[in-house]
């Protein structure tokens, strides 16, 4: 592996290197194939870009959606988007980070200028690549493998020892942050936690119901607990997930298969009709409607967090909303990446929440396919790969 040593910091000047880095990456050559550990070339950062040495990356279900074809992309591609690392070099004009800084790449950038970034509640920056274009803003990629260009994923691409992202896709974090843990703040944890505290804005003393107890669902529970909910009901078809849900804050867990009544009736009875907030953290259309029907008809709020299967329509009875319910969805928990991710890392450092419960497996990067197997079998919550 050829790489440039950490450059000294010169305040006020950008350090441009023209050195291509050869390193190891997990390349997805085509649909449904195992990831292939290859040598890739990573071009230096252009203007307003940052090259990052990735030190830890989580495996998220959305990465698997690309492999399975549920999410569209061009091939070959380097997936992965939940990571942490250290800035290796910066392109011209970059001012917000410098080599040596600890950072988290952001699959939702924050340009600060578009209508989403300007709005207090928006976070879907126009610069995000959510449709599988696979390139950076200038229309080109920074990766090559075996002479071919390799596409980016969500303008992040973290299953690689080095990646290049745009400055607007980088959150600078606490220099003392443990990178092998805070990588989860790059996606799974923040998505769930934000759904509760930022999107739903769970209120103290309320009753919450969380459908789906995977990594993001557990993070929702942590958010509800942080917001002071008095009752947090975890719902999953797999009762093996109940113990962990309780350890992060669920007050009770139920399995819809144990009941003959519809789940919304079960929840209403259990709580004397007081469910204020429900969360769908599975990605299943029927569950989205169940979750909506399960929140209080007049003051309830339901948040869709789980990504639904593409191009399928969600069908519901409009009377569910007529009585006063609110239905929301969010991407990345509603967080504005550059503003909020550093604060979440600081909260982690202040022990406001614990990520250990989410990290069930730690593997070396070259065992990435094992990590995907664990995900597909439902045996892991989050596997973190260490580079």
């Amino acid at each position: 592996m050829l790489f440039m040593p950490m450059s000294p910091v010169f305040k006020g000047t950008s350090i441009s290197t023209n050195v291509v880095i050869k390193c190891t990456a997990a390349v997805l050559w085509g649909l449904k194939q195992p990831l292939s550990i290859e040598e890739v070339e990573v071009a230096p950062p252009k203007a307003y870009e940052v090259r990052i040495k990735i030190l830890a990356t989580g495996i998220c279900r959305t990465d698997d959606h690309v492999i399975s074809g549920a999410m569209t992309t061009k091939f070959p591609v380097i997936v992965g988007h939940e990571a942490s690392g250290i800035v290796e070099s910066i392109g011209e004009g970059v001012t917000t980070v410098k080599p040596g800084d600890k950072v988290i790449p952001l699959f939702l950038p924050q340009c600060g200028k578009c209508s989403s970034c300007i709005h207090p509640n928006g976070n879907l920056c126009v610069k995000a690549d959510l449709t599988g274009k696979g390139v950076l803003s200038d229309g080109t990629t920074r990766f090559t493998c075996k002479g071919q260009p390799v596409y980016h994923f969500l303008k992040t691409s973290s299953f690689t020892e080095y990646t290049v992202v745009e400055e607007i896709s980088v959150a600078k974090i606490d220099a003392a942050a443990p990178l092998e843990k805070v990588c989860l703040i790059g996606c799974g944890f923040s998505t769930g936690y934000g759904a509760a505290v930022k999107t739903a804005k769970v209120t103290p003393g309320s009753t919450c119901a969380v459908f789906g107890l995977g990594g993001v669902g557990l993070s929702v529970i942590m958010g509800c607990k942080s917001a002071g909910a008095s009752r947090i009901i975890g719902i999953d078809l797999n009762k093996n997930k109940f113990d962990k849900a309780k350890s992060v804050g669920a007050t009770e867990c139920i399995n819809p298969k144990d009941y003959t009544k519809p789940i919304n009736e079960v929840l209403s009875e259990m709580t004397d009709n007081s469910v204020g907030y429900t969360f769908e953290v599975v990605g299943r259309l029927e569950t989205m409607v169940d979750a909506l029907a399960s929140c209080h008809l007049s003051y309830g709020t339901s948040v869709v967090v789980g990504a639904p299967p593409s191009s399928k329509m969600l069908t519901y009875d409009p009377m569910l909303l007529f009585t006063g319910r609110t239905w929301k969805g969010c991407c990345f928990g509603g967080w504005k990446g550059r503003d909020d991710i550093p604060k979440l890392v600081s909260d982690f450092m202040a022990k406001k929440f614990d990520l250990d419960q989410l990290i069930t497996h730690v593997l070396p990067f070259n065992k990435i396919n094992e990590g995907f197997d664990l995900l597909r079998k439902g045996e892991s919550i989050r596997t973190v790969l260490l580079m």
Binding site: L297, P318, F322, G324, T326
Partner: protein
Amino acid sequence: METAGKVITCRAAIAWASNAPLSIEEVQVDPPKAGEVRIKVLSSGICGTDNHTQDGTLPVPLPAILGHEGAGIVESIGEGVSSVKPGDKVILTILPQCRECDSCLHAKGNFCLKEDILSPVGLMLDGTTRFTCRGRKVHNNFGASTFTEYTVMHEISVVKIDDAAPLEKVCIIACGFPTGYGAAVNVAQVTPGSTCVVFGLGGVGSAVVLGCRAAGAARIIGIDINEGKFARAKALGVTDCLNPRNFKKPIQEVVVEMTGFGADFTFEAIGTIETTVAALESCNLSYGVCVVIGLSPAKSQLSFDPMKLLSGRILKGCSLGEYKTRDQIPLLVEDYMKKKIDVDPLITHRLPFVKINEGFELLRSGKCIRCVLLF
């Protein structure tokens, strides 16, 4: 009043069967039981929902006396009634406020669980009716029934208002006005300088426009297939009027292009699946708020792309503008009396009660915003 405790014989408009004109008949109205109030109705608006119940798209038990947007004077009260007394001016609404159920106890909830809207029974809470016509029992409607000279309602649905309130005007503060105005100021919470889109420029849509304007919206786009409504809409505050039939593209695409990135707040005040999806897709994908007010046909199902929600949009429904009726409608009446709000532009037609079917025609033809019946 000398009629207290006695059955009153008066005129009412009866819906004997769906999709047929209402029939003005003589009815007997029983005195109020415990917790009930008998009211001399002096004015009633005709609401779009009355139209849906009359034409059968929103089935209710028949025969019935429809109407739920009324104002009148208390004639007599049943045992235990304490919030109103004979002679009080009152507004008659579709949503009770019992102050005991968990909707009422919640700071924001207004869908009182003693409602008779979701699965209408058309009877008082004790399972009986107070109306008889030609010897047959006649149902009430949504706990109200205002197309009658006298009605009996539960105390929890009767709103005491200012003694000086002009009853021939404030009846629309029983339904149309708060439903639309509240959708803008309470539910969406329209912000100053924002861009709003209102689908449907009828009575409720017009009230939404008033709410958006009161909240300081900079741009209010009104959408209707009936261009006859545009002039009035502009007088109320609409800045741009669009007729979807003038465009080849779906109207939501037109709106997104016009606004650059979708509206801040959109409202659906019609009650069709197609326009509800259009309203959702017309608001900004990341921070847009869409409020659905219009009641879709019974047993209808709405389908939309869930990614529209996942990107960050907020979709809300509401009933009566999220106002807690007994607490907040009197305050709206006060605001009207102090000229802080103006409902007068919504009342475009007045007819004597006996011409009720003409009133329904005006509504269906789109020629009126609100037609008020006077007794």
